[in-house]
């Protein structure tokens, strides 16, 4: 997963350097990668979203 997410970011960076006219594609790749990361991350913490600290 992390490999795929980072690969999408890397492709987006290449696009903004070499093919800047592909702005929407580059932004979409970043957002897809971010959504994958955050859905996985929060899902991973779902049994204790606020951690086990005294709050």
């Amino acid at each position: 997963m992390e490999f795929l997410e980072l690969l999408l970011i890397f492709v987006a960076l290449i696009l903004i350097i070499k093919k800047p006219e592909k702005e929407n594609l580059a932004f979409s790749l970043v957002m897809i990668a971010w959504l994958m990361m955050i859905i996985f991350y929060v899902g991973h913490k779902s049994t204790g979203l606020l951690t086990i600290m005294n709050l």
């Binding site: 490999f3 997410e5 980072l6 970043v30 990668a33 979203l49 606020l50 600290m53 005294n54």
Partner: protein, 505 residues
């Protein structure tokens, strides 16, 4: 300054910020920690590292395509998410002892807390950068109708180096976590290129988005009190049948010798006989009663002053002329009677009774007790043998098995020991099947009263063992307190809307 020039300087600062967040925390973690120190990020560390990359990349989007609302929105949302991510990670390690942690510390701080620092720094730096922002119309003018901005030497170098660092992370992620569906690991082994030791795993997919809870282990419902039954919330079905108790055998069956209804207008949760008077409590009210249960003196605790005290679960004598009252959250107040108390000084502790009770002064005041084995359990009972005092846990909606007695020295009020008593139990049962609402000490033995299954466990705190079991009749349906008076066991039960006191033998 010319607004166009201000816009250019703004973009330079934005480029520098985006570049630095990728170069410093991400680059250091990837190259120095990863390749030189062989550190492998865990699944949560990967998420935070990626969050930093996302923030840096969004800044580079702004540099390339101009200041657009969607990029600023993404930057702020990603930073907010990053703050949550690092909190969610270090929160699970925050209760550990000195120098315990996960992975490499830098200047004594572990990487998951450095992430918190980095995300706050993003907020701070973004604020500073916007101090130098031009009028928003200048951003359009600076773009001059183009779809994207041309790179300067600096900005091109920044984005290229950033891309190289991201590429290096792609490589490290490939080696350390693998390709889809493999995913980062909770406890990754050190980084290596030797295939023999490389682990690709799907374990972190397990449990994803299951059992959603904000408080997690701490989502424990309040105990069952006389004034607030909690059977449904706790998921515990109380019964009065001793045959359902977890004990393999019952040594003695107590009989009721006397029964009286106490004329009292509140549900008494704790009752004891201390220094020839009854001491009762109901939630945050404490009453001193004569032998006819007429109130001689009383106070109402302010539960939220200083160390907050959940409803009172026990009161014991302390240092001859004082008392300790305990909340179910293991926070306490040491107090004493004083008919001439200064109500201005005592106002803090008492909503009522500040002019004849003291909670402020020498050897008085509030505090919190710690446990090791029962951090996520309430207590519902307390007793003392004059050297130590003891607390017993009650089961709850998250944990139906744990039963721990915690022992505290009366000298320093610090944990001196913890144990789960040995007991002769039926197969598959635990002492968590009990619901100990009260304990009392007699001749160095603890009599622990369980309202569930109408049973009393006599515990030897030295041997840490249940040495005897007693049953009491099922006509007592909601046993709340146990104490000895005139050599007999007394049990208070709040049932049918009345406080009933039973003497048994």
């Amino acid at each position: 300054m010319n607004e166009i020039n201000k816009a250019k300087k703004f973009y330079t600062l934005m480029c520098l910020a985006g570049f630095l967040i990728i170069l410093l925390p991400v680059g250091t973690a990837n190259i120095i920690f990863g390749y030189f120190l062989a550190d492998s990020p865990c699944v949560l560390c990967w998420g935070q590292r990626e969050a930093m990359i996302f923030i840096g990349v969004m800044a580079l989007f702004i540099v390339r395509y101009g200041m657009k609302g969607k990029y600023l929105a993404a930057l702020l949302i990603m930073t907010a998410a990053g703050l949550y991510q690092s909190f969610a990670h270090f929160g699970n390690h925050a209760m550990e002892d000195l120098d315990q942690g996960f992975g490499l510390p830098v200047f004594g701080i572990h990487t998951y807390f450095w992430a918190e620092v980095v995300f706050w720094a993003v907020v701070l730096l973004l604020g500073f950068i916007f101090i130098f922002a031009p009028k928003f119309s200048a951003f359009d003018k600076e773009l001059n109708g183009e779809k994207f901005r041309k790179y300067t030497g600096f900005s091109l170098a920044a984005v290229v180096i950033s891309a190289i660092i991201v590429a290096s992370n792609v490589f490290q992620a490939f080696v350390g976590t693998g390709i889809f569906p493999y995913v980062g690991q909770g406890d990754p082994v050190r980084f290596t290129l030797n295939p023999k030791y490389i682990i690709w795993s799907t374990d972190s997919w397990h449990g994803l988005w299951q059992n959603i809870s904000f408080l997690g282990k701490r989502d424990v419902k309040a105990p069952d009190y006389a004034f607030a039954p909690a059977s449904d919330k706790l998921g515990i079905k109380f019964d009065n049948d001793v045959n359902n108790s977890p004990f393999a055998k019952i040594d003695e069956n107590l009989k009721i010798l006397d029964e009286q209804t106490i004329n009292f207008n509140k549900a008494i949760n704790t009752l004891d006989f201390i220094n020839d008077e009854f001491v009762a409590s109901s939630k945050w009210d404490v009453y001193f009663l004569d032998n006819n249960f007429t109130t001689k003196d009383s106070f109402e605790l302010d539960p939220y002053f200083s160390a907050s005290i959940d409803p009172i679960i026990g009161i014991i004598p302390y240092m001859n002329d004082k008392f300790i009252l305990m909340g179910s959250n293991k926070s306490f107040l040491r107090f004493k009677k004083n008919p001439n108390a200064n109500d201005t000084l005592q106002y803090a502790d008492f909503v009522k009774g500040a002019n004849h009770f003291e909670g402020q002064g020498k050897d008085l005041g509030r505090g919190r007790l710690s446990t090791v084995r029962s951090k996520f359990n309430h207590v519902a009972s307390m007793t003392t043998d004059d050297k130590y005092f003891y607390l017993a846990t009650v089961p709850n909606n998250k944990d139906a098995k744990t039963f721990v007695i915690s022992k505290y020295s009366l000298k320093d009020l610090v944990l001196s020991g913890e144990f789960t008593p040995k007991a002769d139990l039926k197969e598959g049962r635990t002492l968590g099947d009990l619901y100990i609402t009260s304990m009392t000490d007699k001749d160095g033995k603890i009599y622990a009263l369980s309202k569930n299954h109408n049973v009393i466990a006599v515990i030897d705190p030295v041997k840490e063992e249940v040495i005897k079991t007693l049953s009491f009749p099922n006509t007592i349906t909601n046993a709340r307190s146990i104490f000895f008076k005139d050599g007999k066991i007394n049990i208070l039960s709040y049932q049918d809307g009345a406080n009933k006191l039973f003497a048994l033998n």
